[in-house]
C-alpha cells in the first residue's frame, strides 16, 4: 500500500512539476530572447506575459490535426508521442534531493542513456513519416548527430562512473558531498582534465537536445522547420515540450555528474533547492547560447565530435584510469 501511494504521489508530482516547467521554460526562453535582443518578449497576456504559455497551449490544442497525404499515418502520429513519453520516463531516475527520488536505480545512468536514445529515433520517425523531403533530410541529420554525440557523452559519463565506482545517480552525488571543491568538475585529484570534460559533456548535451547552435534538425533557413515542418497543433506542441523536457534532463544530468547534484557549494543546507538552482542556471546558459550563436553545419558538427570531442574523451578516460591506478 505504501508503495502504491509513493508511486501515485511521485506520478502526480512529476506530472505537475514537468507540466509547469515545460510551459514556463518556453516563456523563459522567449522572455530571455527578448531581453537579449533589446525587445520585451511576451508581455500582453497577463502580467509580464505570464499567461502566454496557457494561451499558446489552448491555441495548439484547439487546432485541427492534419495528416499530410504523403505521410505514413501511424508513424506520423506516433512520433511526437514517443518523443514525449521517452523524455518523461527519464524523470523517474533523477534524484532531486537526498531522499527525493522517484526510484533509486542501481543502473540509473545506464537507464537514462538507453531511454534517451529514443528521442533520436522519434525524430527520424517523424521526419521520415511526414513524406516531405525537408523532413527526411532533417531526420537523417538528427540521427547522424545523435550517433556522433552519444559517443563522447558516454565516454565522459564512463569516466565519472570509474571515479565513483557506481552507476547509481544518488551514490554519485553522495560522493561529491562537501564544498564545491569536492564536485566532480573540480576533481583534479581524479583527472587533471575534469573541467574540460565538464565542458565536453555540456556541449554534447546541447547537441543531444538539438538546441542551437546544433539545431540542424530544424534549421529553418535550410529545411523550413526540419522534422516538424508537417506537424501542426499538438503534434508540434509535443515536439516542442519534449525539447524542453530533454533540455531539463540534459541539465539535470550535468548537475548530477559534475556539479554535485543537491550538494551546497559551501557544505551547508544541502537540498533540492540547490539542485534546482544549478539546473536552471545551466538551462539559462542554453538559452543564452542559443540566442547568441549562429548555427553550425552538419559537417562542422560531425568534425567537432569525431575530431575533437571523441579523441579528447578517450584521452581523458585513459588519464582518469591512470590517476585511479596511481593515487
Amino acid at each position: 500500500m505504501d508503495e502504491l501511494i509513493r508511486i501515485l504521489s511521485y506520478f502526480v508530482g512529476i506530472a505537475a512539476f514537468l507540466g509547469l516547467n515545460l510551459a514556463y521554460l518556453g516563456w523563459v526562453e522567449r522572455k530571455g530572447a527578448g531581453h537579449i535582443q533589446r525587445r520585451n518578449g511576451p508581455k500582453e497576456v497577463g502580467p509580464y506575459g505570464l499567461l502566454q504559455p496557457l494561451a499558446d497551449g489552448l491555441k495548439l490544442m484547439s487546432k485541427q490535426l492534419i495528416v499530410p497525404d504523403n505521410a505514413d499515418r501511424i508513424l506520423y502520429m506516433a512520433a511526437p508521442v514517443l518523443c514525449m513519453v521517452a523524455s518523461v520516463i527519464l524523470f523517474v531516475a533523477i534524484p532531486w534531493g537526498e531522499n527525493l527520488v522517484p526510484r533509486e536505480f542501481d543502473f540509473g545512468l545506464l537507464m537514462i542513456f538507453s531511454v534517451a536514445s529514443a528521442a533520436g529515433l522519434s525524430i527520424l520517425m517523424g521526419g521520415w513519416a511526414s513524406g516531405n523531403k525537408y523532413s527526411l533530410i532533417a531526420g537523417t541529420r538528427a540521427v547522424s548527430q545523435s550517433v556522433a554525440y552519444e559517443v563522447p557523452m558516454l565516454i565522459t559519463a564512463i569516466t565519472i562512473v570509474m571515479i565513483s565506482g557506481s552507476m547509481n545517480l544518488n551514490e554519485i552525488v553522495r560522493q561529491q558531498a562537501g564544498g564545491f571543491w569536492h564536485w566532480n568538475f573540480l576533481a583534479f585529484n581524479k583527472s587533471i582534465f575534469m573541467p574540460i570534460s565538464f565542458l565536453v559533456f555540456f556541449t554534447c548535451s546541447m547537441a543531444e537536445t538539438n538546441r542551437a547552435p546544433f539545431d540542424l534538425g530544424e534549421a529553418e533557413s535550410e529545411l523550413v522547420a526540419g522534422y516538424i515542418t508537417e506537424y501542426g497543433g499538438m503534434g508540434f506542441g509535443l515536439f516542442m515540450m519534449a525539447e524542453y523536457a530533454n533540455l531539463m534532463i540534459g541539465c539535470s544530468l550535468t548537475t548530477i555528474l559534475f556539479l554535485g547534484g543537491w550538494q551546497c557549494p559551501f557544505g551547508i543546507f544541502p537540498g533540492p533547492h540547490w539542485f534546482l538552482i544549478k539546473m536552471y542556471f545551466l538551462i539559462w546558459c542554453f538559452v543564452w547560447i542559443r540566442w547568441t550563436y549562429p548555427r553550425t553545419t552538419l559537417w562542422g558538427l560531425l568534425n567537432l565530435s569525431w575530431k575533437y570531442l571523441i579523441p579528447f574523451s578517450l584521452v581523458n578516460l585513459l588519464v582518469t584510469a591512470l590517476f585511479i591506478k596511481v593515487f
Partner: protein
Amino acid sequence: MSTLLGQSQLQETFELNIGPQHPATHGVLRLKVTMDGEYIVKAEPVLGYIHRMHEKMGENRTWNKFWPNLGRLDYLSAIAYNHGYAGLVERAAGIEVPERAEYIRVITVELNRIQSHLLWFGAFVLDLGGFTPLMYAFDEREQILDLLESVTGSRLTYCYFRFGGVYNDIDDDFITGTRAFIKRFRPQIPMYHDLVTGNVILMERLVDIGHVSSEMCRKYGATGPVLRGSGVNFDIRKNEPYSVYPEFDFDVPVYTECDSMARYMVRMKEMEQSLRIIEQALDKIPDGPYIAEKVPKMIKPVKGDYHFAVEAARGTFSMRTVSDGTNQSYRMRLRSPTYSNLSLFEEASRGMLLADALAFMGSLDLVIPEMDR
C-alpha cells in the same frame, strides 16, 4: 509509403524544390536543386514569380509617371534607383541640377545604402541561424528610416527625386538628426564585429565557402560587393563618377579572398565609408535651391540613345533609354545588379553542401522584385 519517398530511394540523386515560399530565399525566388545526399549537383534558379513589366511600363507612360516604379524595384535601396532614373532623364533632356540638390541626393542615397546593408547583415546572419543580430541591425535601421521619412515622406518605397532636384528640402532637424545618428552608429560597427564577425561558427561557415573568382564575375556581369569581394576594384562612384561624388574623400573596400567572408567584410566596410561620405556632405552642403527652377512640365528629350549608371547597394544599376522625341520613352531597359549576381549561383554552387549554398546565396544579397522587375 508514398511514391515520392520511394522514388528517391531508388535514384542516385533527388530533386528538392526550394521556394517560391521558403525562409532562405527572402522573397519569391525558386531554386530547383538536384541533390546527391546533402550535396548540390545542380541548382537552377527559376525567376518570374513577381514580374511586373517595369520596363514595358516605362515605355507606355510619360517620363514623370514612371517615378513610382523606381521605388518598387529594389525596395531596400530605392533611393539609388531614383538617382539612376533622375540622372538618365536629366542627361537626356539636358536639365541642370542645383548643387544643393546633388548633395541632398548623395546624403539620402548613402543613408539608404547603410540601411540596406544593415538589413542584409541581419538577414544574412539569420540565414546562418543567428537571430539576435537581426534585431540589433533593425534598431539602427529604424533610425535611418525615421530620418528618411522626415524628408521623403515614405519609409520603404521612396519616390523622392524629381527631374532637376528633389521633392523636399532637408531641414536643420534632419541635419542634426543625421549627425546624431552617425555619432551613435559609429561605435555600433565594432560591436557587430565583436558579436558576429569573430565568432568561430561564423568563420567556419563563411571562410573559404562560396568561391567566386573575378573571371566568374566577368563572365556573368556581377557587380557591387560581390565583384569587390573577388578582388576587383570597381565602383561606379569612383570609376565613372556622377553627381558630386568626386568631391568626397572615401575608399572602396576591396577584398581578394573571393569567399563569402570577403563579401561580408566588403559590406561592413562600405557602411563605414558611407558614414564618411555623409559626414563630408553635411559639412559641405551649400545653400541654394533644392530643385531646378526651369524644368518643363512635359519633358521631351531629343531623339537619341541615353545611358546612366549608378552604384546601388547591390551593385551597378544602369538604365538605358531610347527616346524618339515624344513625351514617352521608346525603349526602356533596366539593368539590375542582383539579376547578374544570381546568375553565377548555378555555377558557383555546384558540389556545395545545401547549408553552405544557402549561406552563399545570402552573401549575394538578393532582392527578388528587383531581379524580376
